[in-house]
């Protein structure tokens, strides 16, 4: 049996927000996509693009002429190459199937031939390394003295780049999906119409979505960032308070966008199409997985005003560069703009039946 519970528990806003939690946590798929999937994605990308000692590139050496022995010896001194001696047909076979990047044929003293696929970047790079080793063994001297300084810093790895992107993408997905599906489903079942036939405040109904979104956001952000910090040592250089503010503002903006998308649609299929239409360009252009600057200059102004671009840029600047709020003003302005426009438009367009 139910009981009425204390006064605050009987408040409609509390009851409506509880409904949001109940519907969310009683849907295992939703819990998986919002909480677990981003972590799996982070783990997968972090492992796939982890930095390891460069692998040695396999090459083959062919030849029975004098000087082949010296050639072999010279190439084996290069630590970036894994040299094997093969006969002619085996070597051709290996380079064609990609088992070796390049075949070096000794044609006699002081004469070699490189056989490789010039379309393969790895083969072209290997050709440079092999040629340097061959020429040095042949007695060539360096004309310019070169010294090297190598950097490997936390924050410049791919996982550091991609975690803020995934966080932004997740804020977008849970805001838009969480709101869109729930509202359209309620409209389709005529539950919205039934609710407005009670004294329920419409503002409280919409507020319950925002409240539940903000509390679920805490779990979402803490889980994803916690995992990234513990498993991959991803840095958070800026202030935590600023990071939280960016997340909250972004989540509100995407929730408002979700409300706008759901304001008229009557079927779940209809709203799914709309949501994909809105989100797909941002998945591609907003720099989640690779930098948005790779796209042509002509479309950069469009890319820069997309909400997800601003969110991902702001998250990266806070986490990786540790900038203060002043430097984030353009991004925060874009996000706030989307929040205000989407919210006001949806108030105009929203249908309760």
């Amino acid at each position: 049996m139910t009981s009425s519970g204390p006064g605050w528990y009987r408040h409609p806003l509390v009851q409506l927000t509880l409904v949001r939690y109940r519907e969310f946590f009683r849907e295992p798929e939703a819990v998986f996509w919002v909480f677990i999937f981003p972590i799996l994605l982070t783990a997968g990308l972090g492992i796939a693009f982890r930095r390891t000692a460069p692998e040695r590139t396999p090459i083959a050496v062919v030849g029975s002429t004098p000087g082949t022995g010296e050639l072999l010896q010279a190439l084996r001194q290069d630590s970036s190459l894994k040299v094997q001696a093969l006969d002619d047909s085996a070597a051709t076979d290996s380079v064609r199937t990609g088992r070796v990047a390049l075949v070096v044929r000794s044609l006699g003293p002081g004469m070699v031939q490189y056989e490789y696929d010039s379309e393969r970047p790895e083969s072209r790079t290997t050709r440079l390394a092999v040629d340097e080793a061959v020429q040095r063994a042949g007695g060539q001297r360096q004309a310019v003295r070169v010294s090297e300084r190598k950097i490997s810093e936390r924050g410049s790895r791919y996982v550091d780049f991609v975690v803020p992107g995934l966080l932004g993408m997740n804020l977008m997905g849970s805001g838009i999906w969480g709101l869109g599906f729930a509202i359209v489903d309620a409209r389709r079942k005529r539950l919205l119409k039934r609710l407005v036939a009670t004294p329920m405040s419409r503002v409280q109904y919409l507020t319950s979505f925002v409240l539940s979104r903000l509390t679920l956001l805490i779990i979402e952000v803490v889980l994803l960032l916690g995992f990234a910090v513990v498993a991959f040592n991803v840095p958070i250089r800026g202030s935590l308070l600023l990071l939280v503010m960016v997340c909250v503002l972004s989540s509100l903006a995407f929730t408002a966008l979700g409300l706008l998308i759901a304001s008229r649609a009557k079927t779940v299929e209809g709203v799914s199409g709309l949501m994909n239409l809105v989100m797909l360009p941002m998945w591609i252009f907003s720099g989640v997985f690779f930098s948005a600057s790779r796209f042509p200059d002509a479309i950069q102004p469009l890319i820069q005003v997309l909400p997800l671009t601003a969110v991902v840029d702001a998250l990266r600047a806070t986490m990786l560069q540790g900038v203060g709020p002043g430097r984030l003003l353009p991004e925060l302005a874009i996000i706030s703009g989307w929040l205000a426009v989407s919210f006001l438009l949806s108030l105009k367009l929203f249908r309760w039946r």
């Binding site: 049996m1 409904v19 519907e23 079942k189 005529r190 407005v196 039946r353």
Partner: protein
């Protein structure tokens, strides 16, 4: 001005959807403590009418006074005072019965404890069950519970038993009668004449957006001036003269539709022998003969030439 005591007063209501005239100058008045039924076929304008009274659909013209108040001016007050059950509302399947009732209870300032409402609709055993696991009848009782949580003065029920099995329907009728016995008023729509006869003090028969007959079920049936309906078909000749049928002893009216004949009859025991003799005289062979007591269905058929449920 309407009498202040009447819970619902509707005058000359009109509503047009595109080129469909859904409600065409409809009048009705629900008296205090009365269960009033709108009976009519699908598409007659019953749902549009009740949703206008519920303040969910704005009318194109006409006057609607609910509990002495008007939509557009006293909405907040009215929402507190009305109990509403819409056609085909699906409540969230992931919530339990108790949670759903608690949610709806939270919207009203006054009303019984949620547990009490669960008792009223006899869902105690299902209080902890998810809505998705309820049967059709249990879902309709939940809908009724959500209409009762605010202790309403006036209850609107739009087809409360459509699609239910006879047993669930009877159970729901009992609950609706219980509410009415508390002295409050009900407006319900239905296309089941048994439901209107069983539950309603007065019935308005609605067709094409108008009230075509109004009265107690007994008065409406009595307006046929015949207690029985006799239907028959003949096999030998295709024509039996209707005028000779109407002239038979105890026949009030005779009509022919789709090859079968329908007589409204005052005294069956006199008419049947007379009919058999007349058919023999005309050389017609009786192939089918049925009789039943006159009902609201017959009132509808007499007024419109159609059946309530054309299936």
């Amino acid at each position: 001005m309407p009498p202040p005591s009447s819970p619902l007063f509707v005058r000359n209501l009109r509503k047009v959807y595109g080129d469909v005239l859904a409600v065409d100058g409809l009048d009705l008045e629900v008296l205090p403590g009365e269960c009033f039924g709108l009976l009519g076929p699908n598409g007659a304008g019953k749902t549009t009418t009740i949703e206008i009274c519920e303040g969910l659909t704005p009318p194109d013209a006409g006057e609607v006074v609910v509990l002495g108040r008007r939509w557009g001016r006293d909405d907040a007050q009215l929402r507190e005072l009305l109990g509403i059950s819409l056609q085909e509302t699906q409540f969230s399947e992931k919530l339990t019965v108790g949670e759903t009732i608690q949610l709806f209870r939270s919207f009203y300032r006054k009303g019984p404890h949620p547990d009490r409402v669960i008792e009223m609709v006899q869902l105690q055993e299902k209080a902890g069950a998810r809505v998705g696991q309820l049967s059709g009848g249990q879902k309709q009782r939940l809908a009724l519970a959500c209409a009762l949580v605010g202790d309403p003065q006036l209850l609107f029920l739009d087809e409360p038993t459509t699609g239910l099995d006879p047993q669930s329907r009877r159970q729901l009728w009992d609950l609706i009668e219980q509410f009415r016995s508390g002295g409050r008023s009900i407006l319900l729509t239905t296309h089941y004449m048994e439901e209107a006869e069983h539950l309603c003090d007065r019935v308005a028969i609605v067709d094409h957006g108008r009230v075509i007959a109004l009265g107690t079920p007994r008065e409406l049936v009595a307006s046929l001036r015949a207690e029985h309906v006799l239907e028959f078909a003949v096999s030998d000749t295709d024509q039996v003269d209707e005028r000779t049928l109407a002239a038979l002893e105890g026949v009030c009216s005779a009509t022919r539709r789709d090859g079968s004949y329908r007589l409204q009859v005052e005294e069956l025991h006199r008419t049947v022998p007379a009919l058999v003799a007349e058919l023999r005289r005309q050389g017609a062979q009786l192939s089918e003969l049925r009789t039943h007591s006159a009902s609201l269905e017959d009132v509808f058929v007499t007024l419109t030439g159609r059946h309530l449920r054309d299936e």
